[in-house]
Amino acid sequence: MVLKTITLSAILSLSLLANNIHKERVSDMKGMADGMALILNGLLYDYSDTAIEGASIIKKHAKKIKDKKDLKKYLPKDTAYAYKFGEKSLKRITEYSDEVIEAFKHKDYSAAQESANLLLRQCNSCHSRVRGW
C-alpha cells in the first residue's frame, strides 16, 4: 500500500513538473513572438522605441532560457538531445537582438531590417529543428 502511494505520488509529481516546463516554454516562446511583432511594427511604422523594446523582450527571454541549468529538461523530450543546438540558437538570437537595438539607436533602418531578418531566420531555424517542422 505504502509502495503504491509512493509510486503514484512520484508519477504525479513528474507529470506536474513536465506540465510546468511545457507551460514555461510556451510562455517564453509567446513572449519572444510578441517581441518579434514589436520589432516588425517598429520597422513598418518607423517606431524606434517600439522596435528596441521588442528586441529587449526577446533578449530577456533568451537570457532566462540560457540561465537554466539544464536546457535538456527545458526542451521537448524528443528533441532534448539537440540542446547544444538550442544553446547556439540562443547565442545567435541574443547577438541579432543586440544588432537590431544598435541599428535603431543609430537610425540605420537598412541595418535594422537586415538584423531583424537574421533574427527571424534564427527563430525559424530553431523551430524547424526543435519542433520538427
Partner: protein, 242 residues
Amino acid sequence: MDRRGFLKVVGAGAAVIAIKPSLIRQDLRAEDGQLYRSYEKVQLVGKDNKPIKASDLKTETNYVFNYPYVGTSCILLNLKENVQKGVKLKSEDGTEYIFKGGVGKNGNIVAYNAICPHQLTHVNKADSFISYIPKTKKTMAYKEGGIIVCGSHLSAYDVHNGGAVLAGPAPQPLPSIVLEYADDDTIWAVGVLGSDKFHDYFKSFRSEFKEQFGGKRKAKKLTKISAPTMLLTEYTQEVITY
C-alpha cells in the same frame, strides 16, 4: 615587333599582374566547367608553417584550413574509399557543373567549404556543428557514416561525389575546393567549384567575425600564399555531431 618591344610588353604585363593579381585570378579554368571560380593559389601548411605532405594525412579525419577567405573554413579529407570523377552536380538555381575528383597518389584527397548552403551553419573556432562523420560512426542524418553532416538541420553530403546532397533540407551540394597536387607530395588550393554562400555568410555573422578574426573586413581578406591546416579538434573548441 623587335626584341626590345617584345620585352617591354612582357615586362608591362608582369608588372600589372604583380600589382593586381586579381586581373588573372578569375575564371582561369572556366573551361573545366561552370561555377568554377579561381582564387589565390595557396599552399596548405602545418602549424610549423612547413608544407603538409599528402601522404601524412590521416584517413577519415577532419582537417581544417581557411580558404578562399581568412574567415571561411574548409574541411580537408583523405578518404579511404575511391572518390568519383566526372560527377554531374546541380546548384540551387539549376546550373550544372562537373566535379572532377580528388587529388593525391590515389586521388582520395578532397576539400569542401564548410558553410552549409541551407542556413549557413559553419566550422568556427568556438564550435562546429558541421563535420565529416567517419564510415564506422553513426549519424542521425543518414543511414551510414562516411559523409559530411550538418548537425543544425541534419543535411548529409556525399564527400565521394563532389558534396552532393544525400539527405536533409540542403538545397544544393557543398562547394568543393579545387586542389592541386605537386610532385613533392604537397597540396595547393586554387579555387572553389560550385555555388557558394560567401555573400550571405559575410552578411550574417558580424559578432562572430569580430570575436574570432577582429572584424568582418579582416575575415573577408583573401587567404594568400599559404593556409595553415590543422585537425578540426585543434581548430575548434567543440565538435558537435548528431
